[in-house]
């Protein structure tokens, strides 16, 4: 009796498992059909013709007419958590009007996963690259669809400044292609300070590098270190140091030299680069100027480094970081409590440069609804609520300054437009082995004292080989 029951349980289980397999396999088949459909149009070359034959009116217009109701566009990117919520919020209205479902998937492991996915033939329709250097590889392999095949040049020129378009143009297998569209940018050359305390102490915002150094020394005499610096960031430790160096490079040499440096033509061991590092060391390696001294820099998390500014009384006074740092400010701060000034020029002949970073959206599958979504992303409308909730600057020209939540962020957008030179974060443009490898590591070794200047620069340069 007993064993009979066991037998029945066993067969019931087999049956159930088999059933489960059949059910999931059927579900899978539907997907297979859809994916199979995409595959045919995966090659950018075969699409060029199709794009020109598109009916009158842009894909975006058609989308607003409801032509793509019920379609789904998959998107993959690195923002998770609060950024993901803000992103979903900013596309909600578009989804509701057009009926296109933008299925966003965020992963902390974006950089590693996107290569596996694209090589495994499972590319998302749209991917968000915060590091254009990474995208460059996919463009070279012809995996990315040239957005200029379906977006007119006038449209792109109207939406973006030429410098943005230049940065989006990358070499493909058959000449240059427009690799994607820019969304969400961030200004990096900002020095943050505690506004009420700064004013109460009688300090003034420096306009030149010399004034900045005088202020630094003044604060030291008054009893505090001026700067709070932290470059610890887990596996990415060192990146804030690369930002500093890039900012100083822009201020001590020509933009052309900067471009050469980023392209690998000007080696790290060159005196121009070494000179910039020395400038940086004047602040970084002076224990009177840095909170916790030089030894604290490599062990302080970049996100925690801003906090001493808002201690009562402040333990440090200045912090150079991109606009996103506001999300690391202690809770309860309002826009009246802080402010920023641009990192001042060093050499007057190079003017006031601005270092920026941004996300470029690239397209891997060509379908009319994906085109519509890409076109939507060229409008500032796609960032509106995100801008309103703070932390991003729009690279598009049609963003209304009134959208920015406070004066500080509005000034960032203004700063972008008035800066004499705009250059993209160099380490994000360099190949991963340098920009996300030896550059980070070499700067960390230099700061922590395990390598001297020459050793560190040679070490970074090895990443280019």
């Amino acid at each position: 009796m007993k064993s009979g029951r066991r037998n029945r349980v066993l067969s019931a289980f087999i049956l159930l498992t088999a059933l489960a397999m059949i059910v999931s396999a059927c579900g899978g088949n539907n997907n297979a059909g859809q994916n199979g459909g995409n595959q045919g149009t995966n090659d950018p070359q075969t699409n060029t013709g199709g794009g020109n034959n598109a009916p009158a009116g842009s894909a975006l217009e058609q989308a607003y007419n409801g032509d793509f109701k019920g379609t789904k566009v998959t998107m993959f990117g690195p923002f998770t958590d609060a950024d993901e919520v803000k992103f979903t919020e900013s596309i909600r209205a578009f989804e509701e009007t057009t009926g296109i479902d933008i299925a966003y998937e965020g992963s902390k492991e974006f950089e590693a996963t996107i290569s596996v996915r694209v090589n495994g033939g499972n590319a998302p329709d749209i991917a968000d690259f915060p590091q254009p250097g990474l995208l460059r590889g996919f463009v070279k392999d012809g995996k990315v669809i040239d957005v200029s095949t379906f977006m007119s040049e006038e449209h792109l020129k109207r939406q973006y400044n030429q410098s943005w378009l230049d940065m989006a143009s990358m070499p493909g297998p058959n000449g240059d292609v427009m690799a994607g569209v820019w969304a969400r940018s961030s200004v990096k050359s900002l020095v943050w300070y505690n506004k009420p305390e700064f004013e109460a102490a009688g300090y003034t915002v420096p306009k030149t590098w010399d004034e900045l150094m005088t202020l630094t020394d003044q604060i030291a005499q008054d009893g505090d270190p001026a700067w709070s610096i932290g470059i610890e960031s887990g596996a990415a430790t060192g990146w804030p140091a690369t930002d500093w160096l890039e900012d100083i490079m822009l201020r001590t040499t020509t933009p052309e030299n900067y471009d050469k440096w980023v392209a690998g033509e000007l080696p790290f061991t060159d005196d121009i680069v070494k000179n910039a590092v020395k400038r940086m060391s004047e602040i970084w390696f002076n224990d009177d100027y840095v909170y916790g001294g030089r030894k604290a820099i490599a062990t302080t998390s970049f996100g925690d480094a801003v906090r001493p500014l808002f201690d009562n009384p402040p333990k440090a006074w200045l912090h150079r970081q991109a606009g996103f740092i506001t999300s690391f400010f202690p809770e309860g701060l309002s826009a009246d409590n802080y402010d920023w000034f641009p990192l001042p020029p060093i050499n007057a002949e190079y003017g006031q440069p601005a270092l920026i970073s941004g996300d470029i959206y690239a397209m891997f599958n060509d379908r009319p609804e994906v085109r519509a979504v890409m076109e939507f992303f060229t409008t500032a409308e796609s960032l509106k609520t995100w801008i309103q909730s703070g932390g991003v600057t729009a690279p598009m020209n049609d963003a209304d300054p009134a959208w920015y939540p406070n004066e500080q962020e509005r000034r960032m957008a203004e700063f972008l437009q008035t800066a004499d030179t705009i250059r993209f974060d160099g380490s994000d443009l360099m190949p991963g082995s340098v920009g996300a490898g030896t550059f980070w590591k070499g700067m960390t070794d230099y700061v922590s004292g395990t390598a001297d200047l020459d050793q560190a620069m040679q070490q970074i340069q090895t990443g280019w080989k």
């Binding site: 999931s24 923002f79 993901e84 919020e89 998937e105 492991e109 999300s327 309103q388 909730s389």
Partner: protein, 362 residues
């Protein structure tokens, strides 16, 4: 002399075990304590400060002249100190002098006192379980609070991945192990060697080829796909483990059963399965833990769409875009530990017996 030998070795074993336990336990305890502390506190002091200890506590403040030059020796109560000494803290008559506010030129006088940290919070757990809330500014200028999703959805997803991904391979592997152990068929040795050889192949090398096949079959992001992946990656070890256990069973048992007219299936279901429960239980724990804690395989084949996202990925995303919410990881780690712990304790009475399954000749 004879009596002493075993006792001494027992003592040695216990000491080694105690050391291993402490090495594993102390960081876990630290994690547990940290999970109940506010983020700002974790930055300030170590978790061990919850143990009562003697520490410096301020009892008095000395205010110096505001014009004091910090680069010259500084005189406090008639004694001269350097700025560096006052930054580090200098002990004088059992009291310690340290800058309280260098800018305001105030020095804090501290005394050793018994103190302990008592500031605890459940906030981390609440946020992890209930989801974070985000402030979003709406187009009309007002703000809206968006409640992020909590753990429950990903918990069920993980369960939906883990249970079949544990049961399916064990089920198949038990059949295979029986066949390898007791059935005679051509190529038996060869197949078995192939399976053992597969044990040493790292699963990472299979990721991209399998992903390609999955793409053409449309299995990406489906539960079925991930069950298959986990089953395939787990099968060699489970087959080997079950083979060791099943091949140790006494031969006479099967022979007599066979004489009585039992088919292979009857022998398997009525003799082998009941006799290898300890081995089944212990390999279930292994496979369950592996799948439950897996990040890589889910990342590649399942992705992180909310409807399929497993807990390990949900937890990784909790830290926020720039790692600003690292303090939540402590609480999340303990929550994700609960299920494996429950499985382990439910099956642990078989566990020790099962571990011996492959090692002792019966």
């Amino acid at each position: 002399m004879r009596k002493k030998g075993p006792r001494r070795s027992k003592w040695l074993i216990n000491t080694v075990l105690a050391v291993i336990c402490i090495i594993w336990f102390v960081p876990t305890l630290g994690l547990l304590v940290s999970s109940f502390r506010p983020a700002a506190d974790i930055l300030q002091t170590g978790w061990w400060k919850i143990i009562p200890h003697r520490d410096w506590a301020a009892v008095d403040t000395i205010t110096l002249d505001r014009e004091t030059d910090l680069r010259q020796p500084i005189t406090v109560n008639g004694v001269t100190f350097s700025d560096a000494q006052l930054r580090e803290g200098v002990v004088q008559d059992g009291n310690r002098l340290v800058w309280e506010n260098r800018r305001a030129r105030t020095i804090s006088v501290q005394e050793k006192q018994w103190v302990m940290m008592t500031n605890f919070t459940l906030q981390n757990y609440q946020t992890v379980l209930g989801g974070k809330s985000y402030q979003i500014t709406m187009p009309d200028g007002g703000t809206k609070t968006e409640q992020g999703s909590g753990m429950s959805q990903s918990f069920w997803n993980t369960l939906a991945v883990t249970v079949p991904a544990t049961v399916i391979p064990i089920f198949i592997a038990s059949f295979a192990a029986y066949a390898f152990a007791w059935l005679r068929f051509p190529g038996r040795k060869l197949f078995f060697i192939i399976i053992i050889a597969l044990l040493v192949v790292p699963l990472q090398v299979a990721l991209i080829p399998i992903l390609r096949d999955y793409t053409s079959l449309g299995l990406n992001g489906t539960y079925f796909g991930i069950w298959l992946a986990h089953s395939a990656f787990g099968l060699p070890l489970i087959t080997y483990f079950m083979y060791n256990s099943i091949s140790q069973l006494p031969k006479d048992l099967f022979e007599s059963a066979f004489m009585d007219g039992a088919t292979n299936f009857t022998i398997f279901s009525r003799l082998i399965l009941p006799l290898s429960v300890p081995a089944l239980a212990s390999i279930s724990i292994f496979q369950f833990l592996w799948v439950w804690n897996d990040y890589l395989v889910s990342l590649i084949f399942l992705g992180s769409q909310p409807n399929v996202q497993v807990m390990s990925m949900k937890i990784a995303n909790l830290v926020g875009s720039r790692g600003n919410d690292w303090h939540l990881l402590t609480a999340a780690a303990f929550i994700s530990m609960l299920m494996p712990l429950a499985v382990f304790f439910a099956l642990q009475r078989y566990f020790v017996r099962g571990l011996l399954g492959g090692s002792v000749k019966g």
